[in-house]
Amino acid sequence: MTLLEVKNLKVEFVTVSGSVKAIDGVSFTVNRGEVVGVVGESGSGKTTLGLAILKILPLNGRIVSGEIIFDGRDLVKLSEEDMTKVRGKEISMIFQDPMTSLNPTMRIVDHVAEALIVHYRLSKEEARSKAIEALTAVGIPENRVLDYPHQLSGGMRQRVMIAISYALKPKLLIADEPTTALDVIVQDQILDLLKELRNRQKTSILFITHDLSVVADIADRVIIMYAGKIMEIGSVEQIYYSTLHPYTQGLLKSIPKIGSNSDLYTIPGNPPDMLNPPPGCRFHPRCPFAEEKCRKENPPLVEVSEGHYVACWRCVK
């Protein structure tokens, strides 16, 4: 059962030095109750993808073409007024830096209550008590709900962000590197919390991260992105054990392994300058298998086995 279907999405930023095609023809689906990981190095367009789905791109960004079919409607065509009803209530998003995601002049309970009042037209008292319920459900002690954001740690603040989602019961949660800014122990707690949210409310999650190892823990399927394009899509097993794309192989090799004391592997080279991306396959300048064709023609994303897609000339016979 498909909840979200993104078709050939293109997003572009206008800058003084030219236009940046941050998302260049991306297609994928998210099923109901499914957790889909989006993995790629920084700058590959992951955050832009999340913002584009909610249509809250910065002023210089716009959706050039494509469709975002959510629950039967194309969000790209939806009016701004209808979008505000989708945002938060049907699709919510949590962000990378919990330290800056909350309004410093507002108590945390009011962040949750306010969203409930707006989306569910609850009275102030009802909203407050529901908000306190949600906050305690994500592990915020009741005596802290009147705190201001600066009184909480990063992990606690991320819990508040999750509590807002928890209270609004969206069908899809976009989690943009929700654990990147946190230390390891807190990371695990937040991951557990997200899994619980998925299990309890059957929320689908688009889990964005640059860390392939985190994804194995939470995701059902994984999308590998590079420079605004999808390189590979597959189940966690397919991505880990039947890896096809050289970029995915590079990412896997750069995961630190317990017990190994060899130097950490990094993919040679740097992500491309998005103002002048390389022709052909975007990964070819860093690819150990690059051939003449890779430099000229962009490989299409093809299904090589059931549910396993890859964009690489080596896999197209």
């Binding site: 002023l59 830096d97 800056t100 002049t105």
Partner: protein
């Protein structure tokens, strides 16, 4: 702080060329007589002694005597100060809504013609001399249209006929139920207040635009949008509320400047405030009056920054004293 300022003013005044007694009595008086006056005013003592005498009497709330009129001038000073306060409040009443409006428009519609117009207004208020603007207003409204008086300040007729309760003539008229007098006072306030208000609104507009734009791009605003909050809530509770601190700061600063007397504007409109008083005192090297006016000014700045600090703590839960 206040002490440093007082000390600086004390010595700078004495370094400046020009002798107050000469100004007061004219050049033709016999030297013995000049000496006598100097002695009377303590000006023949060594400068350090004068300095400590000055601080000592200040501690006792004594501003001393004017070197020119050789009379106590405390009443006159307070009177002038009150007139300046009236003008300051009237100007800020014009400046705050206008400035916030300008700032809001240029932040919200960044890049649009409307925003450019707002920026143009800001630049204009920066570059147009305030007396020039004042004169334009005088010519247009006072002379061509003839609807407003070109001089400012409560008319003496009203000032001396109304029973003084607070000493603020405009307010006294209202308290006494003298609505005609009140209307007269307001009529005389409009041109100087609008002149000053327009100039200050430019500064407030610029500062609030920058503050709003900065907050607009912060993560919690994006997060609020992602939550589907209506634009009004995002603007009021997320953007404006958090941009208020720099805005309040600049308003406080401008108000302090205004209370010290807006010299150019007061001069243009011949307004009987602290600014014109200070100007006259400086021109005649009336040390004690200048010192007193500056002291008053320093106290005002201190009081206002104290109030602004209290507002900060109220606005921003991260600030506690």
């Amino acid at each position: 702080m206040v002490l440093i300022l007082l000390t600086l003013v004390f010595f700078i005044l004495r370094i400046l060329p020009g002798d107050p007694v000469r100004v007061a009595v004219g050049p033709k008086l016999p030297p013995e007589y000049v000496k006598k006056i100097c002695h009377e005013l303590g000006l023949d003592k060594p400068i350090m002694v004068q300095y400590f005498d000055y601080l000592w009497s200040l501690l006792h709330g004594d501003f001393g005597k004017s070197l020119i009129t050789r009379r106590s001038f405390a009443n006159e000073l307070i009177d002038r100060f009150k007139a300046s306060v009236e003008l300051a409040i009237a100007s800020i009443i014009v400046a705050i809504p206008l400035g916030l409006f300008i700032g809001d428009v240029s932040a919200k519609y960044e890049g649009s013609p409307l925003a450019h117009l707002a920026r143009l207004f800001t630049v204009a208020t920066y570059s147009i001399p305030v007396f020039w603007l004042g004169i334009i207003f005088q010519v247009v409204f006072g002379i061509w249209l003839g609807i407003l008086p070109i001089t400012g300040g409560p008319p003496p007729m009203v000032k001396y006929s109304v029973r003084a309760i607070t000493g603020f003539t405009t307010l006294d008229c209202l308290l006494n139920g003298d609505f005609i007098g009140f209307a007269e006072c307001i009529r005389h306030l409009i041109l100087p207040a609008v002149t000053l208000g327009v100039v200050i609104s430019g500064i407030i507009g610029k500062v609030s635009r920058n503050a709003l734009v900065e907050v607009m791009h912060l993560d919690y605003v994006t997060a609020a949008k992602a939550r589907g909050l209506p634009e009004k809530i995002i603007h009021d509770k997320y953007i404006f509320r958090n941009a208020l601190i720099p805005i309040i700061t600049i308003i406080g600063l401008q108000l302090a400047l205004l209370l010290g007397g807006a010299i150019l504007t007061e001069t243009t409109f011949d307004y009987p405030g602290l600014g014109t008083y200070l100007k006259d005192a400086v021109l005649s090297r009336d040390y004690t009056v200048v010192q007193a006016a500056v002291t008053l000014y320093a106290i005002m700045v201190a009081v206002i920054s104290f109030i602004v600090d209290i507002i900060y703590a109220f606005l921003d839960p991260r600030i506690r004293y």
